[in-house]
Amino acid sequence: MSMPLAIECEGVTKHYPHFQLQDVNLSFEQGTVMGLVGPNGAGKSTILRIIMGLIGPDSGRVKVLGHSMPKDQLAAKRNIGFVAEDMRLYESENIAFHMDFIKSIFDSWDDEYAKNLLRRFDLNRNQKVKGLSHGQRVKATLLLALARRPNLLVFDEPTTGLDPAVRKEVLDEMMGSLQDETHSVLFSSHNTLDVEQISDYITFIYGGRIIESRNKEDFMDGWRRLRLTNLSNSLLPNLANIKDVQQSGRLCTLTVNNYEESILEKFASAGLQINNIERLTLEEIFLANVQSAKANSNKETLA
């Protein structure tokens, strides 16, 4: 039996004078982690804010944990923990003040877990927010989101600007929050290493559009880099899944999506000698995707 959906976006659009979010379709099941990857200004934060009900879409439908957003945002937000890179706590107050405030709102607040997180994050509950470093501030915000035990965690660039040690702590805790199969995480990042590390599903976004969304294994299995030697200067087969071609003399490097063994036969029959087949890292897949999206966007502009 399939799990109910944690998030379901259908045909979501949002127009700003200098940016448009176009036809966003995004969904993933409860109990899974979805990583949203895109360069700065791609629309990641806008999507997450629409999902949180903080921004109203111009068109389309958004459901979070079965609740329509932004209409049922009160019920939905009772079960969501949201952390954003640009979210700030009250500088004049200490961490304890914020913990008491959140505790007064959520019956689900787990005191023991909060204390545990304070220890693990090496935070002092009596320290004023003003005196916290960036990393400590992110950890404090994360603590406030996690200790209320939400079913869904939404993180907007949670690891931006963190040193590797703090980044690991934050990612470990994000993973630790998925204790049972009903807990889900949606997080955005332009750091593909973080996404590769913890995501079950990955969505690439560029220029306000989702350019690819699949589960991580499919992503990693679907992309290959082929190194070929073009002995007789033959024409490359015209295949839709060739995303990038780099040529240097007789040596030719192709980046291929939706890779299948049968592609190799097509190259061999075209007179190309296959020297090497490499898997791509998520970062390379992301860059290839962005490059391809840019090329398509340029073609559309010219047309």
Binding site: R49, M52, L54, I55, G56, P70, Q73, L74, A75, K77, R78, I80, F82, A84, D86, M87, R88, L89, Y90, E91, S92, E93, F97, F101, I102, S104, I105, T141
Partner: protein
């Protein structure tokens, strides 16, 4: 069922602002003490101008500090994103801000109005004929405050809020001077009893309606907002 978190939001803002409110309460008490000290030692007109400045200054300053810290800075310092990630709607956020700011200012406003009326009329500094005009002065202060509060809630911008404050700070005395020169109002200043003629009633009614309208318009605009970050 979702229970509103307005009480928690108001409590949070109150706890954060309690020292500021306390300080201004103490300043207000010091002002009242100063008024008591100068009473009878300076001419009535000097006493009135000095007294009203001593009373209004801490009340207005406290109100402005509260508006800036609880409404404008909430957006400017990105703490609003933290608050709006909680189970709260724009409507509830607006209500929580009104429920902190309005009562605090109203208490200050009632206190300064009470002290001013006591000294002006209880101790016989002015004839009762000026009661309608003094009422208009204090209602004018309240309307100006509601105007600033509304603009702060709608725009949450330092610039726009400060411009509105300056505009109302300059506009309110000008408007009161205009009223003071209106014959149906000033012709009764020296009478031993107050005269609520149709002009006086219309002005007071307009002031009350303006304050209520500003709040209703603010509420309506806030409810219509689709993007709140």
């Amino acid at each position: 069922m979702s229970i509103s978190i307005i009480p928690q939001l108001v409590r949070k803002d109150f706890l954060m602002m309690r020292k500021t409110i306390l300080i201004f309460c103490l300043v207000m008490l010091a002002s009242i003490a100063a008024i008591c000290l100068i009473f009878g030692r300076v001419p009535n007109v000097v006493f009135f101008n000095l007294g009203i400045t001593l009373l209004i200054a801490p009340a207005i300053t406290c109100a402005i500090v509260l508006i800036m810290k609880t409404i404008v800075m909430e957006k400017q310092k990105s703490t609003q994103l933290f608050i709006m990630s909680l189970p709260v709607t724009v409507k509830e956020f607006t209500m929580s801000k009104l429920l902190l700011n309005l009562p605090v200012f109203t208490v200050f406003w009632l206190a300064i109005s009470g002290v001013a009326f006591y000294f002006s009329f209880g101790l016989g500094v002015f004839p009762f004929g000026t009661i309608p005009f003094i009422t208009m002065i204090f209602l004018g202060i309240f309307v100006a405050y509601v105007g600033v509060l509304s603009v702060a809630l709608i725009y949450q911008s330092y610039g726009i809020t400060i411009i509105t404050m300056l505009f109302l700070e300059l506009g309110t005395p000008a408007y009161l001077w205009i009223i003071a020169f209106m014959e149906p109002i000033n012709s009764h200043f020296y009478e031993p009893h107050m005269v609520w003629n149709s002009t006086a009633i219309s002005i007071v009614a307009t002031q009350i309606i303006a304050a209520i309208a500003a709040l209703l318009i603010t509420w309506h605009i806030q409810n219509k907002k689709r993007d709140f970050i």
